[in-house]
């Protein structure tokens, strides 16, 4: 044994003994070697107790050597990025690794919640559902918090994950999942045939079981053969070899998801690298070579630290040179368990006994393996002893007499389960195979996927190599690739002999099936007795097969127990449905780099930099960043800035960046007819050089969006939309053309990004604009009246579009220039307006001015309002049809009692209105039954000197002068308001025509 690591074998293994690594577990410093997992290093250091069980807080030790581990779950790291529920068996050891046990208080060695174990008779499956029902109010405040504290796994830090994650897509001809013997051989064959190959394996060393076994391939140690194969593959240009990468899901169209642990094995994440990378593999074909998972056998107290799967013991001995126990008993029902005894003996370990459930005649060919170790046939363990670690095993011998032997390790082999999970992710169902007593992939694997090796039930090394070759050749044939000369290297081809045993029924006490969820045979019996006999019901009733391991070692034995109880066969009982992910994946990995400011694209107007220079405060409008207001020195609140912007615009002139409005170019011989069908009002009568306000309905008759339509030519229109609805309207327009009227000669394309557009508003707007528009264009009121439009040039020949439209209610123009000139144009406008004290105004001032004018925006076009509600019923032309017209005529949508748009002002001077308030009659109780409507938009009107609002109230247009209460239960406000016209400023529209 190695000095500092008491259970490290003096020689052997694949760890790098010249690279010692220091790490901490539960605050104590240990050493391991490069090539260790945390689990193997703990075993080498003689640490047996690594965790506490979920419900009963039973002491638990390392049970497996792979991703199926149910027990050895630890918290890795500290602080915000700590990673709970990490499986020590797949955690690669690195310098400075800090791990802590979880689900214990105050310490792993002394866990007061182990008291739960004494209450086990009362805590069987289903007790939650029956025990904590009364009083109902106690569940949320008392029962659930207490249960959650007493039972569970690790916990996240509750802080933002400090690590970076990344997503990527890789395409290939053949995706090979698993780099064991079948996977390596399949990859070699496919790659030599010229296919583009991706070989992904969750381990950090390719080879799979070959690294944990003492066997040869082509007369070289199997792990050396694996390393050589991996080296060849890594050198091939058509191969991408991804270690530390778990393919965890199979999806439509040959798409698979994989998680690459890029930096989890490093002390720190390298610069610019993610901690983990989520791969989307797009494969023409996939070969699943995911291997198999050994399963345990249920008997009393089979959960103590020191009880392990036999193959895991072999892996720790052969790959990691770590001895799980000083004295080991091997318990098996198949030939494979005997390998563990042989390998232990070869490594110098002590094998106290081999217990085989089979008769002497079944194991005669294995006797030599045992050497001097006693062999007990027809032996059945019925109990174990030891508190924080195994100390003895009691079993019935062939004569049914109990025998107790001391041992600190019990290696169990109940047989192997092919890892069929990915074949089931598209609803495939595995089928039972009596010969190997296991479920194997059915014929309904995802299209394009074939299975090879142990995952297909070929448990010999030769069988795996042969199937890897055959499946790869088949795939090459399907792809039309060349068939390379292929040979299958020599390897062991022992038949797989098993007499399955699931539960030692003679054992008394709790026989554990699911170590992670503390589910016993008795729990399955209770589930059966309660009528939860379908495996899906059993899973939900007992929680068997849930949590991080998803029952990889537990499910099949539990299915067998349930099958026995119901009298059905295992095949008839079937499995639960396997769904992605195969192993746990951090939510952050799914997000990849799309977090924080990168969560979604940010759209900026061409004048953004200028607005930023002015100190604008920005707000999000859809994906756009829009200036909300432009504060000036000395202004103490946003209201001061906004009030100033409104006053100055109404008094002289202001400019607003309206580049964000949706702009759709509509062209074609049938453009006019097309727009007539889209809009409620008629657009075909619009003359060239004119703009018209338009309203679009959804198919159901409610308002979709409003905007303007400008006719720039005989068959050329420009449609504008609200900023937020630009994408929606474009989609709607495209849909209508492609689906409803493909025969129309009409073409539409978004030009929202093509133009920078500015609204210049206020009494001096024309004077400012006159300084910018080239002299040959007359923009006087007579030549370019309200609702005119045209192609012009500005600033000495720059092509531009000019629209005489107004959202503010003032004399206003919108001038659009190619986006490249946007920055220069806003600077030119400001310079031209300097003598008029022009102000830039933001979204808030725009909002104030449109409320003062009674113009609806998103708050009013909220998907629940009709043209009639908005006071625009007359815009639905009686002379033509349009989308939504028929449905808009439904009685419920034309009911005279509907809520319609109105203005609101506080009765008491100085009262503040709030959006979202509901209208209730004066003297009536504020409850839903008395609800008459709601406030949609409010602002302080600098023009009027008090708050004003827009909202919908029953028969609003008939009730001007009435008083109601605006009740805002959220903000605790209840004030009296007067219903009025929504047109607060210049109701006749004289200014905008001036």
């Amino acid at each position: 044994m190695s000095g500092g690591q008491p259970n490290r074998l003096a020689e052997g293994g694949l760890v790098q003994r010249d690279r010692e690594i220091a790490f901490h577990f539960d605050g104590r410093r240990y050493h391991g070697h490069a090539g260790d997992t945390l689990a193997s290093a703990l075993i080498a250091n003689g640490v047996r107790l690594v965790g506490r069980s979920f419900k009963y807080h039973r002491p638990r030790g390392v049970f497996t050597a792979g991703s199926e581990e149910p027990n050895a779950l630890v918290e890795l790291g500290r602080g915000a990025g700590r990673d709970p529920n990490s499986r020590a068996t797949v955690t690669e050891l690195h310098d400075g690794l800090v791990a802590s046990s979880q689900n214990r208080f105050p310490s792993l060695g002394f866990d007061v919640l182990a008291f739960n174990d004494l209450l086990a008779p009362f805590l069987a499956a289903g007790f939650y559902y029956k025990t904590f029902m009364w009083p109902a109010a106690f569940w949320e405040k008392l029962y659930e918090p207490v249960i959650r504290r007493a039972a569970g796994l690790g916990a996240l830090s509750g802080k933002a994950d400090p690590d970076a994650y990344e997503k990527a897509t890789a395409h290939c001809d053949v995706l090979i999942i698993g780099a064991g013997p079948a996977g390596l051989q399949a990859a070699l064959t496919a790659a030599r045939g010229g296919a583009r190959v991706i070989l992904a394996d969750e381990d950090f060393v390719p080879g799979g079981r070959l690294n944990g076994e003492r066997m040869e391939i082509a007369r070289t140690p199997a792990h050396e053969w694996a390393a050589k194969a991996a080296t060849e593959l890594a050198s091939m240009k058509n191969v991408r070899l991804l270690t530390r990468t778990t393919v965890f899901g199979a999806y439509d169209g040959g798409t698979y998801a994989g998680l690459e642990r890029v930096a989890d094995h490093l002390p720190a994440v390298p610069p610019h690298q993610p901690r983990q990378r989520l791969w989307r593999f797009v494969a023409r074909r996939a070969i699943l070579c995911a291997g198999a998972t050994e399963r345990p056998v249920a008997f009393a107290d089979n959960d103590r630290p020191g009880v392990m799967l036999a193959s895991a013991v072999r892996t720790y001995v052969n790959r990691f040179a770590a001895l799980p126990g000083r004295s080991t008993i091997v318990f098996t029902c198949n030939d494979d368990g005997w390998r563990t005894a042989g390998d232990l003996i070869a490594a110098g370990g002590a094998v106290e006994a081999i217990l085989d459930t089979r008769g002497a005649e079944d194991i005669a060919h294995l006797r030599d393996i045992a050497g001097d170790a006693p062999v007990f046939t027809r032996a059945r363990p019925i109990g174990t002893a030891g508190h924080k670690g195994l100390s003895a095993v009691t079993f019935l011998n062939a004569n049914d007499r109990p025998v107790t032997l001391s041992a600190d390790c019990l290696a169990i082999s109940g047989g192997w389960n092919p890892n069929v999970h990915l074949t089931c992710h598209r609803r495939g169902r595995p089928v039972w195979n009596d010969r190997i007593a296991a479920f194997v992939p059915g014929s309904d694997a995802p299209p394009g996927m074939v299975v090879a090796g142990a995952a297909a039930g070929a448990f010999s090394t030769h069988g795996a190599l042969a199937q890897g070759t055959e499946r790869a050749l088949e795939v090459l044939g399907d792809l039309g690739s060349k068939q390379p000369a292929s040979g299958i290297p020599d390897a062991e081809d022992a038949p797989y002999a098993i007499q399955p045993v699931w539960h030692i029924t003679q054992s008394k006490g709790r026989a554990w099936l699911d170590l992670q969820n503390d589910v016993t045979v008795k729990d399955v019996e209770v589930s059966h007795a309660e009528g939860f006999r379908s495996v899906e019901h059993m899973k939900r009733y007992t929680t068997l097969g849930m949590a991080t391991d998803q029952g990889k070692t537990a499910s099949v034995p539990a299915i067998a127990v349930m099958a026995n109880l119901t009298g059905r066969s295992i095949a008839e009982t079937g499995t639960t449905i396997f769904r992605p992910p195969y192993t746990p994946v951090a939510i952050a990995a799914f997000a990849g780099g799309l977090r924080g400011r990168a969560f979604r694209p940010i759209r900026l107007t061409p004048a953004h930099d200028w607005s930023k220079e002015q100190g604008a405060v920005f707000t999000e409008a859809g994906l756009w960043l829009r200036p909300q207001w432009y504060p000036r020195r000395g202004e103490k609140s946003w209201r001061e800035s906004v009030d100033r912007e409104v006053r100055q615009t109404r008094r002289s002139v202001g400019v607003n960046d309206v580049s964000t409005l949706g702009k759709i170019d509509v062209k074609g011989a049938d453009a006019a007819a097309f727009l007539d069908r889209l809009y409620t009002n008629t657009m075909s009568t619009l003359t060239v050089g004119k703009v018209r306000y338009g309203l679009m309905l959804r198919e159901d008759g409610f308002v979709l969006d409003d905007g303007t339509v400008a006719r720039l030519g005989d068959s050329h229109y420009l449609v504008t939309t609200t900023t937020a609805n630009a994408g929606l309207v474009m989609q709607h327009v495209d849909y209508c053309h492609q689906v409803h009227w493909p025969e129309l000669d009409v073409h539409m394309v978004s030009v929202s990004d093509q133009y920078a557009q500015f609204a210049i508003a206020g009494p001096n707007a024309r004077k400012v604009l006159r300084k910018l528009v080239d002299a040959r264009f007359d923009i006087a009121n007579e030549a370019f009246p309200y609702m005119a439009c045209g192609e012009i040039t500005v600033c000495g020949g720059v092509a531009a579009r000019l629209f005489r439209i107004s959202f503010s209610g003032e004399l206003a123009y919108e001038v659009a220039v190619p986006a490249r000139h946007g920055d220069a144009m806003i600077r030119a406008i400001m310079e031209a307006g300097r003598e008029f004290d022009i102000v830039p105004y933001g979204l808030e001032a725009l909002n104030v001015m449109r409320i003062e004018k009674g113009h609806p925006v998103g708050s009013e076009l909220n998907g629940q309002t009709t043209a009639g509600d908005l006071g625009l019923a007359r815009m639905i032309s009686a002379k033509k049809d349009c989308i939504g017209k028929v449905m808009a005529g439904r009685p419920a949508l034309t009911d005279a009692d509907r809520m319609t748009l109105a203005g609101f002002k506080p009765v008491a001077e100085g009262e503040e209105l709030t959006a979202g308030a509901h209208f209730v009659g004066i003297g009536r109780e504020a409850k839903t039954a008395h609800d008459e409507g709601y406030m949609t938009s409010v602002c302080f009107s600098p023009s009027l000197g008090h708050f004003i609002g827009l909202g919908f109230i029953r028969r609003g247009h008939q009730r001007h002068g009435d008083k109601v209460r605006a009740v805002d239960a959220v903000r605790g406000r209840d004030i009296e308001v007067e219903i009025c016209s929504p047109h607060f400023v210049d109701p006749q529209g004289e200014r905008l025509r001036g």
Partner: protein
């Protein structure tokens, strides 16, 4: 007021075009490019094809392909009966404009040239398109989202992993930020 001349900003809002390099990867903003969008009715498809052959020197490319004209322009497939015509100062002859809807998109799209042996490694972090030379040979075009943004990728030289990418102006800075992150990860940066 003295006559104002409107200065020009690049698609990325810069005074000078962006050009950045990593080991094995570079990206360079292309400026001065005219971008015209063409869309044609089904009945005029053949006529447009003939007009293009006559006036541009090349027939319209088939789906997912682009062609170069002898006038230094490139015609790229952009959808069902839709194409982009791009080039340095490219303009659309009237004979073509009579048959197709033609819209100037020169300021709506930003063009970037990417190249280098790590281009595919960068791109696989950003988009779903398989840029392997066998599946995306020179002359191929794909319209695809890149991190949620519209883009058009054209393979200029598949063996050299050189592409021209068109993307929308308003989200161009987000687009470039994603490219920088992907390039940092794929190529490393000091």
């Amino acid at each position: 007021m003295a006559e104002v001349k409107l200065a020009v900003r690049t698609g990325l809002g810069r005074e000078q075009p962006l050009a950045e390099e990593w080991p094995g990867f570079s990206m360079r903003e292309i400026t001065g490019l005219s971008v015209w969008w063409l869309s044609v009715a089904r009945k005029d498809r053949d006529g447009l094809d003939k007009a293009c052959t006559r006036h541009l020197g090349t027939a319209l490319p088939p789906e997912r392909r682009f062609v170069e004209t002898d006038k230094g322009m490139r015609v790229l497939w952009a959808g069902d009966r839709q194409w982009f015509v791009i080039g340095d100062g490219a303009h659309i002859p009237a004979a073509i404009a009579r048959l197709a809807a033609v819209t100037d998109q020169s300021d709506g799209w930003v063009a970037m040239h990417v190249s280098g042996e790590r281009t595919r490694a960068v791109m696989e972090r950003l988009c779903l398109v398989d840029l392997d030379p066998a599946t995306f040979p020179t002359g191929t075009v794909a319209r695809t989202p890149i991190e949620g943004m519209h883009a058009l990728i054209a393979s200029d030289d598949a063996e050299a992993a050189a592409c021209t990418i068109l993307f929308q102006r308003s989200s161009a800075r987000s687009f470039v930020d994603h490219f920088r992150h992907a390039a940092d990860s794929a190529c490393g940066r000091d």
